[in-house]
Amino acid sequence: MEDSRLVLSPSPHVRDEDTTQKIMLTVVAALIPVWAAATYFFGFNSIRLVFVSIIAAVGSEAVFLALRRKPVTVWDGSALVTGMLLGLSLPPTLPTWMAVLGSFVAIVIGKQVFGGLGANPFNPALVGRAVLAASFTSQMTAWTMPFTDAVTSATPLVSGQASYAELFFGTVPGSLGETSALAILLGGVLLFYRGILDYRIPVGFIGTTAILSFVFGQDVVYQLLSGSLLFGAVFMATDMVTSPITPVGRWVFGVGCGLVLVVIRFWGSLPEGLTYSILVMNAFTPLINRWTRPRIYGQVVKQV
């Protein structure tokens, strides 16, 4: 007893086993089926872009944390997730150096300048993607057919030429991770099962898109399965840091994402509006949090 050291720490003295790192690594695990599908369809390009994005993201994080004289906490896995998400959102033939630039922008401008993990208002991977899309428009919209390197003109969202089955399994042109609805749903189920994904955001997002597609006379199933809606709704919009923290707020956020997406898809000059729909709603997240504070125990009773 005399020679042993006692822990001095306030209560609670027991804690849940889940950690930030476990949450991040679970997201990585959920992205594995998506990456596997991308590699099956697009071959080496998938491995090249995702690896490069991860290395650039983790590297940028390490360097900038060191420059900010902060502990280099790259093992928390957050930069790994950002790099992986960015890589999977890129078109297969994008030059390597552009992926590196995208990851750098995502981590440094999307996250570190705001104060690092937890302090960024916008989804870092989408910030990186938005900058690439604005800077290198033609490379960021150069799509290839699966199993080939042949560049085609358009994704199914624009061409309208794909069967539901092709869209579901993913044998269509598109960004690496967005084509296979099946793989995305697998990952989503894992995240939901592990309590990391709040169903309200993807259900609100996809549901709103479905209803509005129906209202405006579009093919509802086609609108849901094509483009990057599923990938974004499951993996990007549900980013904990940049989405609301209240249950009602998550519905508002999901529905808002759907509204912006539909406006861009149907009336905007861009074919796909996923990136901007989420980024726009990220900007509203603090306000949504403020407006949707839940009633506390005993609150209404007192006011009566």
């Binding site: 007893m1 006692l6 209560s11 003295h13 027991v14 849940d16 504070r293 005993g298 609150q299």
Partner: protein, 436 residues
């Protein structure tokens, strides 16, 4: 069996009760020297009414409460008062204590059994006060104050949830002394004029529910309510919501919704106080944790040093922390010479593998603290505002409604000290209020 619960928040935490829940309570020999603090309760400390060198009997009052919110203290051994001095308490702070050298005789006044059915409310309250009964679940709030509520009360609830991990002292008492518990409940009902008494027990104690249901079988106005196993089911406001569906208004008391809540052991102490006129000089505590060799529930005299209690349970191996109370809300023991006091429900001698501590990594806004908060608060913001000194903002957002159950800190994946920060903020807000 029932499965009542509070609707919002809460969570599942490990129980870790198996080591002690099946062992009968064992009485521990009285200590050689009893160290009896004059303040063992919420409220004003007592004034000593014995002198150094004087003889005291077992159960004799040695400290008198001079204010309403306070409770007298009693000798837990017979013998000579050798010193009245400051001694360290569990949390390391010092307090005036009466130190009695045990003569080993346990000489006491003869007990007189009393029929309480003819006693008035104020007579019952006075007997409870005289016996020094306070909330034995941990808060230590004087019980005689609770039985004179400011508003009419129709229900007395007995809190048998025992939702903290490790602790099984209430579990054992309910099993071993169901009739004493129910008698205490009836006395409390008579005192406050309640028409029903309900004992809330989590359904992970089926044998307790069976025993209590048998014991209540003949009385239609006393019954058992099975509660879902969820932390913090034993928090006063959550228990009231779960059993009665009533919500205590923000800043209010249980009496505002027509009930009072008492801990199991408190009700048993009420029976001793009112029926037998016995002062509160001993209690049952759980001694558990992987670093204590023989974990069990012990009937121990108030004033016994913590080290003696651990030694009685086989001593300890290589503890990482020793905790007074449960692991969710208990405090670290800072001094092993500190005595057992009335509100102490357990001594946990935890090994390195059982304990987890704060890391304070960045908040990733996962909102688990919000989803789990049983009061519907936003612990992440409240903690943040407290840390930044934005107390007005914290107060506007109901920081004072926090019940300090620590579930937010428990679920936080970044292992932030949310509850600790909120507690600190509450202290500042409270101090600001009294200063005005």
């Amino acid at each position: 069996m029932g499965n009542k619960t509070f609707p919002r928040g809460g969570g599942h935490i490990p129980h870790r009760k198996d080591a002690t829940k099946n062992k009968p309570v064992m009485a521990m020999p009285a200590p050689q020297q009893a160290v009896i603090p004059l303040s063992q309760h919420a409220g004003a400390p007592c004034r000593p009414v014995v002198k150094v060198g004087g003889r005291v009997k077992l159960g004799q009052k040695i400290g008198e409460a001079e204010q309403y919110v306070s409770a007298p203290v009693h000798a837990s051994v017979s013998g000579e008062v050798v010193e009245i001095t400051e001694r360290p308490l569990l949390d390391g702070t010092k307090s005036m204590c009466v130190i009695i050298e045990n003569d080993g005789l346990d000489e006491a006044e003869p007990l007189v059994a009393q029929d309480y059915s003819r006693l008035s409310v104020s007579q019952i309250a006075e007997l409870i006060r005289e016996a020094g009964v306070v909330g034995l679940g941990g808060a230590g709030f004087p019980t005689h104050v609770k039985v004179e509520p400011p508003k009419p009360v129709d229900t007395v609830l007995i809190n048998g949830a025992e939702c903290e991990p490790y602790l099984t002292c209430d579990h054992r008492l309910m099993l071993e002394q169901p009739h004493k518990l129910i008698e205490g409940l009836k006395i409390l009902m008579q005192a406050v004029g309640a028409r029903q008494g309900i004992i809330g027990v989590e359904v992970n104690k089926p044998e307790v529910i069976r025993v209590l249901e048998q014991a209540c079988a003949e009385q239609s106005y006393v019954r058992v309510a099975g509660l879902k196993v969820k932390y913090p089911q034993g928090a006063e406001k959550q228990l009231i919501k779960a059993i009665l569906g009533r919500e205590v208004p923000s800043g209010g008391l249980p009496a505002d919704v027509g009930c009072i809540v008492q801990n199991v052991q408190t009700a048993v102490a009420v029976t001793d106080a009112v029926v037998h006129g016995v002062g509160l000089y001993q209690r049952v505590i759980t001694v558990a944790g992987a670093a204590v060799y023989d974990p069990r529930n012990v009937l121990v005299r108030i004033g016994t040093p913590i080290r003696d209690v651990i030694d009685f349970c086989g001593g300890m191996g290589n503890p990482a922390a020793i905790i007074a109370g449960g692991p969710m809300t208990g405090q670290l023991v800072q001094d092993l010479t500190a005595p057992v006091v009335k509100p102490l429900s357990g001594i946990l001698v935890l090994s390195k593998d059982e304990i987890s501590y704060e890391l304070n990594q960045p908040c990733i806004r996962c909102a688990r603290c919000i989803d789990h908060c049983p009061m519907g608060l936003q612990p992440n913001f409240l903690a943040d505002w407290s840390n930044k000194g934005l107390y007005d903002q914290a107060e506007r957002n109901h920081i004072m409604d926090c019940i300090e159950c620590s579930l937010c800190s428990y679920v936080c994946p970044a292992k932030r000290g949310l509850c600790r920060s909120i507690q600190a903020g509450k202290q500042v807000v409270r101090a600001g209020k009294t200063a005005v």
